[in-house]
């Protein structure tokens, strides 16, 4: 099988699994499982946004949660003021995108290098966290929405069908919306990456100087990638605010940012399916470890296993040291190695880098 056929097979497989998931889950499981899976889907969209920015764009963004949180807060504030949810939803995409564009302009046109990019995005996230956290007083309000500081904003009205305020989307509807959005985001990004634009941003990631000498402006392409990623993260934030009807400043926190990075590392940089798998896997793991404590079990069990930072830290260190490429590319390499060792083809294979698939 050549690379192209494999690629199409993978795409088809994702589509089939996605649709089966979409149709079967609400019929097979109780509402609490569906609710849990909804948040996995929302987080997977967030993981995709970093997969694009970092995995394909090569932009080390430690502050993806800034856009996520901004989307959530924008939706919350706008929906309190407007009432109908269509415009708030759009705002929750446009505002984080605009913020990403501004920040990106500042960073890319300032020619700030990789590592400093990480530090700046981290700092911006902390600025947002600090400022929002300190707005607890009643004087901090935008229109009729109180910011609430560290208490967060409770009771956010849910999304409604566009233009019809009287028919809000129920919990099962949220599941459909989140899953369909995830599938659309996945296939949309695949399309984007298969296009000329996608080829160029991967080229820039591989060798920025060379791409520049070939006549492409890396700054503009990086800015565009960053903005798209910001918009996607903002959209995920909007869904998240809907999911719990609640948003608090921890959404901007370092723990949240670290999680997004871990999803992408574990799943694999340079793939799209990897971060989705990583996200769902890690989310499931932390929930399962936190929830499934044997009752009356030893005290240390809860202290070790219900301790998300401890577990996540070990996972992150282990992956960086032992599986730096991430699960999906490593499994892909393994599969390819098995295939080629079976057919005993010792010829040098001039195939495109595997990093472009998935």
């Amino acid at each position: 099988m050549n690379g192209r056929a494999l690629n199409l097979l993978g795409l088809g497989l994702v589509g089939v699994i996605g649709i089966a998931f979409l149709v079967l889950i609400p019929r097979l499981f109780e509402l609490d499982v569906v609710l849990e899976l909804t948040v996995y889907m929302i987080m997977a969209i967030l993981a995709l946004s970093l997969a694009l920015i970092w995995g394909y764009g090569g932009i080390l963004c430690f502050g993806q949660s800034a856009f996520f949180g901004l989307g959530a807060y924008t939706y919350a504030i706008a929906v309190f003021n407007i009432g109908e949810s269509t415009i708030p939803l759009l705002l929750a995409i446009v505002l984080p995108a605009a913020f990403a564009a501004l920040l990106g302009y500042f960073m890319f046109y300032g020619r700030i290098s990789d590592v400093y990019l990480g530090v700046i995005t981290l700092t911006v996230t902390l600025i947002l966290f600090n400022s929002v956290n300190s707005t607890a007083g009643p004087e901090f309000r935008i229109g009729s929405a109180r910011l609430g500081g560290f208490n967060g904003i409770p009771g956010i009205p849910p999304l409604n069908f566009p233009g019809n305020k009287a028919s809000p989307i129920d919990l099962e509807g949220m599941f459909y919306l989140a899953t369909i959005s995830l599938l659309l985001a996945y296939f949309g990004l695949r399309l984007l990456l298969a296009s000329r634009f996608g080829r160029i941003i991967v080229g820039i990631r591989e060798n920025e100087r060379r791409a520049e000498l070939l006549g492409y402006d890396p700054r503009a392409y990086k800015l565009a990638t960053f903005t798209i990623g910001g918009a996607l993260a903002g959209f995920a934030g909007c869904l998240f605010a809907n999911w719990g009807n609640f948003v608090s400043p921890t959404i901007f926190g370092l723990a949240q940012s670290a999680q997004i990075i871990i999803w992408v590392i574990v799943g694999g940089r340079g793939t799209l399916i990897g971060p989705i798998v990583g996200c769902i896997g890690i989310q499931w793991l932390t929930t399962a470890l936190g929830a499934n404590q044997p009752s009356g079990g030893p005290d240390w069990w809860a202290k070790i296993f219900a301790n998300a930072p401890l577990i996540l830290g070990i996972i992150l260190i282990a992956f960086v040291l032992l599986v730096p490429k991430g699960l999906v590319p490593t499994l892909g390499d393994l599969g390819q190695w098995l295939l080629s060792s079976r057919t005993k083809r010792a010829k040098t294979r001039l195939e495109p880098k595997r990093a472009e698939e998935g």
């Binding site: 400022s131 926190g253 960086v320």
Partner: protein, 288 residues
Amino acid sequence: MGLVALLAIQVLYAIASLALISVGLAIIFGMMRVINLAHGEFLMLGGYAAIVATSHGISIWLSMLVVAPIVVGIIGVVVERTIIRFLYGRMIDTMLATWGLSLFLVGLTTAIFGNTTVGISAPLGSFQIGAYRTSAYTLFVIAVAAVVLAAIFAVMRWTRLGLIARGTMQNANMAAALGVNPPRVYAITFGVGAALSGLAGAVLAPVSGVFPTIGVAYIAKSFITVIGGGAAILTGTVSASALFGTINQIATFVTTPVFGEVALLGAAIVLIRLLPQGITGRFFRRGL
């Protein structure tokens, strides 16, 4: 008059505490080009080491100035040997691994000490300036920062260890050819950086209290100080601390502490945009 003196002390204190929390990171980053995202947790561990030692009856001065640096220095060497040394030259991977380490340490201390703030009361009492009273401990922190910076200067400038360290920093291969063992220099450097972080964390523990996630409060500030300072360890740390500390304290004085921090972080972003190589990339280029 009293108010001006008080404000001056507060500004000096802000500068001193920034310099203290950053200097360990600056050594590790400046000499090894390793961005240690677990730096905040080293500070946190220093605080815990001091508090645990004090509660076992060791004098508070001894636990802050001796026990904490030694404990965290040893932890630093262990971390370098088990994690960092596999990742030299892979800057981004080091950043990620140390971030993992940071999460791990937060989780570990939460498991051991619980998610509550523990504190030790600041010794030394307070003193009078005009119509105001302020804590004498503030002056102690300023003094510690001054001594630490002076000691680093002396070691780097006048000792053989400092010479080797500077040589390895400039050109590791050449230093190795001349008979220096770079891995050993790196391990020592990382240990010293960690020890200084432990000292800083312990000295600041009576002011802020200690809790497992306190590292977050330090990490952004120390990073922007180091990066804002640029390549030269001492001059960079001092100049960036002076700039950011002054901005922070004046903004705090005019508005609230929270917006003081926001002003500090904002100023840092503007500075990095204007001087991507840091202050010492443009000014004081011959500094140490």
